[in-house]
Amino acid sequence: MQIAIVLAGLLFGAGAVAALYRVIRGPSLLDRVIASDVFVVTIMCVLGAEMAFNHHTETLPVLLVLGAFAFVGSVSFARFMAKQDQT
């Protein structure tokens, strides 16, 4: 059980670090948008895993709000790119 929790934490952490690296080094703005989306989803999964392991449901609304923020942010950046491209 403890080993599995540590392993899951390592995998989540490695994924988050890879996404952060892509946010910093991404060649284009769209790469950064995708990577920050992955980062937000990783945070959502970590919050959910913590809820599952500790048997509570306090942070469920946070998952909903984080999903909404990720959606609005990505869509607005994509629209911004498309509009900038037309000029």
């Binding site: 059980m1 599995a4 929790i5 392993l7 899951a8 934490g9 995998l11 989540f12 490695a14 994924g15 988050a16 670090v17 890879a18 996404a19 690296y21 892509r22 284009s28 769209l30 790469d31 948008v33 995708i34 990577a35 989306d37 992955v38 989803v41 990783t42 959502m44 999964c45 959910g48 895993a49 809820m51 599952a52 392991f53 048997h55 509570h56 449901t57 469920l60 609304p61 998952l63 909903l64 999903g67 909404a68 990720a70 959606f71 990505s74 869509v75 950046f77 994509a78 629209r79 790119m81 498309a82 900038q84 491209d85 037309q86």
Partner: protein
């Protein structure tokens, strides 16, 4: 083996699946060459990882309220993740952030060429792609 132990093992398995999804997305972001293939890697944990985590929460907290909120989260994510991916891919195509030599078949360019030909005959009409 009691019910609590089975529940714990199911939880650990589902969380490990979600962790593997997130790790795979990170590796895909690092190693894939252009925006469209990175998008392919990135959209995996958005649905599958979140569904695994939601199942783990539901196994541990089997109440109606939890089920309702988890269903709302998954339906919302299932509606918005494809929209996000579609719009980012469209912006990438429009702004030429893709490696065309990796494409096997490019149907969008065919239809764009067709629209351009239609518009070439009548320049008075509005230019293509003005959604707003």
């Amino acid at each position: 083996m009691t019910g609590d132990e089975i529940r714990e093992m199911v939880t650990v398995g589902l969380v490990l699946v979600a962790a593997l999804m997130c790790f795979a997305a990170g590796v895909g972001l690092l190693r894939f060459p252009d925006v469209l293939s990175r998008l392919h890697a990135a959209t995996k944990p958005q649905i599958l990882g979140l569904m695994a985590v939601a199942a783990a929460i539901a196994v541990n907290n089997a109440t109606i309220g939890t089920f309702a909120l988890l269903t709302a989260i998954i339906i919302f994510q299932g509606l918005t993740a494809p929209i996000t991916a579609h719009m980012v891919a469209r912006a990438a195509y429009r702004s030429d952030h893709l490696r065309r030599d990796f494409l096997i078949r490019d149907e969008l360019s065919e239809s764009i060429d067709r629209v351009d030909e239609d518009n070439a005959g009548s320049p008075a009409t509005a230019p293509r792609d003005t959604p707003d």
